[in-house]
C-alpha cells in the first residue's frame, strides 16, 4: 500500500501536452490551491448575478399560481436545494471513488469539502419543504417518498461527516469516508424507489410535484436560474473550503509556508 503512494503522486507536474490543459497537474494540492483561489471570486460573482436575476424573476415576474397562490414561490429555493443535495452526493461519491482508485490526495479533500454543503442543501430542502407543506398540505411533515428519501440522504451526509471527524489520520479518514460514500451512493436510488413502493400501499394521493399543473415558462426559467445560482454558490463555497483543508493538511510543507497569506498571518 505504502509503496505505490509515491509513484501516484501528481503524475506529471508541468508537463503540458499539445496545448491542452494538463488536468493531472491540478491533481496536486500545491497547484490546485492557487487555481482555486483564482476561480473563487468568479464563482461568487456568477452566484450573485444569478441570484439577483433569479430572485427578481421569482418574486416579481413569475405569475401567481392559480392553485397555490403566492406560497408556491418557495419552489425557487426548495427545488434547487433538493437537486443540489442529490447531485452533490453523487459528486462527492465520484471524488471519493477517484481518490480510492487513484490514491490522489486532492480527491479526498474535495469529498470532505463537499459534504457540509451537501448536508446544508439537504437540510435546506427539508426545511423549506416543511414550510411549503404546512400551508399546502396542512402538515409540516408527511411520510412521502421524496421527503423520506431526502431525510435519509441528510443522514448519509451526517454519517459521512461524523466518520471523517472521528478519524484523526487524514488519509485514513479519506479512504474510510470514500467507502462509506460509495456504499451510500448505491443506497440512494434504492432508498428513493423503495420508499416510493412502500408508500403506494398507504397513501392514496401522491403529492409529487410532477403531478401539479404544467409550469408556466417564467416559473421554470426562474427555477433554473436559481438552480444555477445554487450551483455557483456551491462551487464557490466548496473551493473556499477545500483551500482551507489544503492549508490545514499541508501546513508542514514548504510551499504552504511560503504562501503570502500564511506568512502574513504568522508575522
Amino acid at each position: 500500500m505504502r509503496g505505490n503512494r509515491a509513484s501516484l503522486e501528481p503524475p506529471a507536474r508541468g508537463a503540458k501536452g499539445g496545448g491542452f490543459i494538463n488536468w493531472f497537474k491540478f491533481a496536486s494540492p500545491q497547484s490546485f490551491y492557487p487555481l482555486a483561489g483564482k476561480m473563487i471570486p468568479w464563482f461568487w460573482g456568477l452566484a450573485a448575478i444569478f441570484l439577483v436575476v433569479g430572485l427578481y424573476i421569482s418574486f416579481f415576474v413569475a405569475p401567481t399560481d392559480f392553485q397555490q397562490g403566492e406560497g408556491y414561490r418557495i419552489i425557487f429555493i426548495h427545488v434547487p436545494a433538493a437537486w443540489m443535495s442529490m447531485f452533490l452526493y453523487c459528486v462527492m461519491a465520484g471524488w471519493a471513488g477517484i481518490g480510492l482508485a487513484l490514491n490522489t490526495r486532492l480527491s479526498g479533500m474535495m469529498a470532505q469539502a463537499i459534504a457540509p454543503t451537501g448536508a446544508l442543501m439537504a437540510f435546506l430542502s427539508l426545511w423549506t419543504g416543511a414550510f411549503w407543506g404546512k400551508p399546502m398540505w396542512g402538515a409540516w411533515w408527511v411520510w412521502d417518498a421524496r421527503l423520506t428519501s431526502s431525510l435519509i440522504l441528510f443522514f448519509l451526509y451526517i454519517g459521512f461527516i461524523a466518520l471523517q471527524a472521528a478519524i484523526d489520520d487524514a488519509r485514513r479518514a479519506d479512504k474510510a469516508g470514500a467507502i462509506l460514500a460509495l456504499v451510500g451512493v448505491v443506497n440512494v436510488p434504492i432508498i428513493y424507489f423503495s420508499v416510493k413502493w412502500w408508500n403506494t400501499l398507504h397513501q392514496g394521493a401522491s403529492v409529487a410535484i410532477n403531478k401539479a399543473p404544467a409550469m408556466a415558462t417564467t416559473m421554470l426559467l426562474g427555477m433554473l436560474i436559481m438552480a444555477l445560482a445554487f450551483w455557483m454558490y456551491a462551487i464557490a463555497v466548496i473551493l473556499t473550503r477545500v483551500r482551507a483543508i489544503i492549508l490545514e493538511r499541508e501546513a508542514h510543507t514548504e510551499w504552504a509556508k511560503e504562501l503570502p497569506e500564511v506568512k502574513g498571518a504568522n508575522a
Binding site: M1, R2, L100, I152, F155, L156, I158, G159, A162, L163, A166, I167, R172, K175, A176, I179, L180, L182, V183, G184, V186, N187, I190, I191, S194, V195, W197, W198, L201
Partner: protein, 221 residues
C-alpha cells in the same frame, strides 16, 4: 472454502464459550418488542397493525448490538492482521466471519420472531411471511453492518458512530421486510417485497464482503 469453514467454526466456538454476549442481544430483542404493547396499549387491532414494523426495528437494533464485536476483539489481539497476512484471500475469511455473525445473531432472531409475533396476535400466514422476510433480511443486516463495523474499527466513539452510519443504510431492508408482512396482514401478495429483499441480498452478498475487506485494510494500514 476450507478456510471459510474454519473461520465460521472458530467464531461459533468463541460465541459458544461466551454465551452471555449472544444471549444479551436476544433478550434485548425480546424486551424491546415486549415494551411496545406496554407503551402503546394492548388493543389487538392496533398491535396487529404495528407488529411487523416493531419486530423489524427491534431486529435492526439487536443486530447492531453484536456488530461492534464483529471485528474489535480480533483487531485487539492481532488475529485480524494474521488473517490479512494469510495466503487465503481476506475477503473469504471476512465472509466467514459475517456468516458466523448471522448464525449467532440473525438466525436466533428469525427463530424467535414467530413466538413474539403471537404476542401481537399475528395470523399464522403472516407469521410465516415474517420468518421468510427475516430469513432474507437478517443476512442483509449482517452484511451491511459488517461494512460499518469495519469502517469504525478502532475509531473513537465507534459504537455510536456505527449506528449513525449503519441505520440509514438499513432503511430499504426495513421497508421491504416490514412491507412484506404488512402486505399479508392487509390481504395482498408479499411476493414483490420478498423478491426485492432477495435482490438486495444478492447485491449485498456480492458487494458487502468486498467493501468490508477494503475498509478493514484501511483500518489495518
Amino acid at each position: 472454502m476450507k478456510a471459510v469453514l474454519a473461520v465460521i467454526r472458530r467464531d461459533l466456538l468463541l460465541a459458544a464459550r461466551r454465551k452471555s454476549e449472544v444471549l444479551t442481544a436476544l433478550f434485548f430483542f425480546i424486551i424491546v418488542v415486549s415494551l411496545f404493547p406496554l407503551g402503546i396499549g394492548p388493543e389487538p387491532a392496533l398491535l396487529r397493525k404495528i407488529a411487523p414494523g416493531i419486530l423489524w426495528v427491534a431486529a435492526l437494533l439487536a443486530t447492531m448490538l453484536g456488530l461492534t464485536r464483529l471485528f474489535a476483539p480480533d483487531h485487539a489481539d492481532g488475529t485480524l492482521e494474521q488473517m490479512a497476512l494469510s495466503p487465503n484471500p481476506l475477503g473469504l475469511l471476512i465472509a466467514g466471519k459475517i456468516i458466523s455473525h448471522w448464525l449467532t445473531t440473525g438466525l436466533p432472531l428469525v427463530l424467535l420472531a414467530p413466538v413474539l409475533g403471537i404476542q401481537f396476535d399475528l395470523e399464522p400466514e403472516a407469521l410465516g411471511i415474517l420468518v421468510v422476510a427475516l430469513l432474507l433480511g437478517t443476512p442483509l443486516l449482517s452484511l451491511i453492518g459488517a461494512i460499518g463495523a469495519a469502517l469504525t474499527l478502532g475509531v473513537r466513539g465507534g459504537g455510536v458512530l456505527l449506528s449513525l452510519l449503519v441505520l440509514p443504510l438499513y432503511v430499504p431492508t426495513l421497508i421491504f421486510g416490514a412491507g412484506a408482512v404488512e402486505m399479508v396482514v392487509s390481504g395482498l401478495s408479499p411476493a414483490g417485497h420478498l423478491s426485492l429483499l432477495a435482490a438486495l441480498l444478492a447485491l449485498a452478498v456480492f458487494f458487502a464482503p468486498w467493501a468490508t475487506t477494503a475498509a478493514l485494510r484501511i483500518a489495518l494500514e
